[in-house]
Symmetry: C2
Subunit: 230 residues, 2 copies
DNA sequence: CCCGTTATATATATAAAGTATAGAAATAGC
DNA sequence: GCTATTTCTATACTTTATATATATAACGGG
């Protein structure tokens, strides 16, 4: 590829939209309708308009695809390899969002679907790298603040919360110690409600008050892997 | 300002170059020769060439200004407010670098000089925000890895290391506890050399082996503020 | 309706890391 | 030699993290 220095850059935003569905962290992908990478799956994205800033562009893309507002959205990283787009010079500012499955009302189609991040299809551009980096960042965030509640329904059990942590961190945590530390988390509210679902003993429901995502006390991931009991 | 959606974006990199000089964290600034913000100080930067990626562009800017290689350089954040440049649409990908004063061989002039980050002049564009964010990120890095050694000379005393931590974190640390945790840091090597300078008892010199900037064990900043003794 | 199963919940012991404080050793200046 | 100053060692105390035992509540099968 020959670069003509008089050509200009194009700049896009791409948004990694993560949710918790079917006991797995899943990412929303769109199928590309045009070349390059026609028919490959890709992260939702779009050109940055001249009148909007990067956050606004990312929010617009997120809203177009999910119709949700008021979501955890954070700038992730800017990817600018000259060869990341095969026939143009496109720099993309990647964002990632954590959304509640409960809040979503997405009609998935042949061109818009959820995929487990642990089992991705062949992706367009460098989008695989971008998704992997978004998971790394999510883990880093979780180590310093209880950002996982962004993935939980409004009311949740401690077991559900632990499951979210385990899926993000890819390791098992000890139930009893998780409870102790979770309960000490700033912002967690104990409700006088219980699950009455199919399970055995009903579990107490909790919720998070809006919002303290800088709480240092909530990094309860350090626990060593619990050994699997036979 | 009216935005014409057919106009294209321009993309630059700006590099916050931090060092430790005269008992303060200092940043390298250049005086702008042209409008806008003529004669105001700014972070060194430049347009991203079509043939280079963002890291390469940042390295090039860093090398142009400081002639140092092999430096701690990290992408910081991308700033893209439509109004950040008064008469163009310039998105900038900001980087920050930590350099050793010892390695530098910069001739400072009327157009290139070091400024204490705690006492900055009036800056061009949003560069004040960018510098502040680079300090925040440096603090975050320091909480999880001993990145401060990037600012220290090759051989240093624990007192010098502590001083670097205190300057970055803007708080005093307890000397005895700092020593205990610093000595436990992975990668720190105790030398059989001592200072023989003007001070009282000679201090042992230490160095860092190349390089483990992901060591979790090195976040020894948590100490409570030592009360000032009268 | 008893009883085993399963998941929730509480209490407590042990280990590790973080914080606080006393004081000894080495040098320079007087 | 005495004092001031800085480096360096040792140790007690507090908090957090990890490990383990046991009780409680519902369900389902006989």
């Amino acid at each position: 590829m020959i670069f003509n220095e008089t050509k200009t850059h194009e700049i896009t935003v791409d948004v990694v939209i993560l949710t918790l569905k079917n006991n797995a962290i899943q990412v929303l992908l769109v199928k590309r309708l045009n070349e390059p990478f026609k028919d490959k799956w890709a992260i939702p994205g779009g050109y940055v308009r001249l009148s909007e800033n990067l956050d606004e562009a990312a929010l617009r893309v997120l809203k177009e695809r999910t119709n949700v507002d008021n979501i955890y959205l954070e700038q992730l990283y800017t990817f600018g390899d000259p060869l990341r787009h095969p026939n143009a010079r496109v720099i993309t500012c990647a964002y990632f969002a954590l959304v509640r499955a409960e809040d979503l009302n997405i009609v998935t189609t042949d061109e818009l679907a959820w995929f487990k991040v642990s089992d991705l299809p062949k992706l367009a551009f460098d989008h695989k790298d971008i998704i992997e980096y978004s998971m790394k960042r999510t883990r880093e965030r979780l180590e310093i603040c209880p950002v996982a509640y962004q993935l939980l329904n409004e009311k949740f059990t401690l077991t559900e919360m632990q499951k979210a942590y385990e899926l993000i961190m890819s390791k098992e945590l000890d139930k009893r110690n998780f409870r102790k530390k979770a309960i000490a988390t700033e912002g967690l509210i104990e409700l006088e409600e219980y699950t009455k679902s199919s399970s055995k003993r009903p579990a107490r429901l909790y919720t998070f008050e809006n919002i303290k995502l800088n709480s240092k006390r909530a990094h309860f991931i350090s626990g060593k892997k619990k050994e699997k009991v036979k």
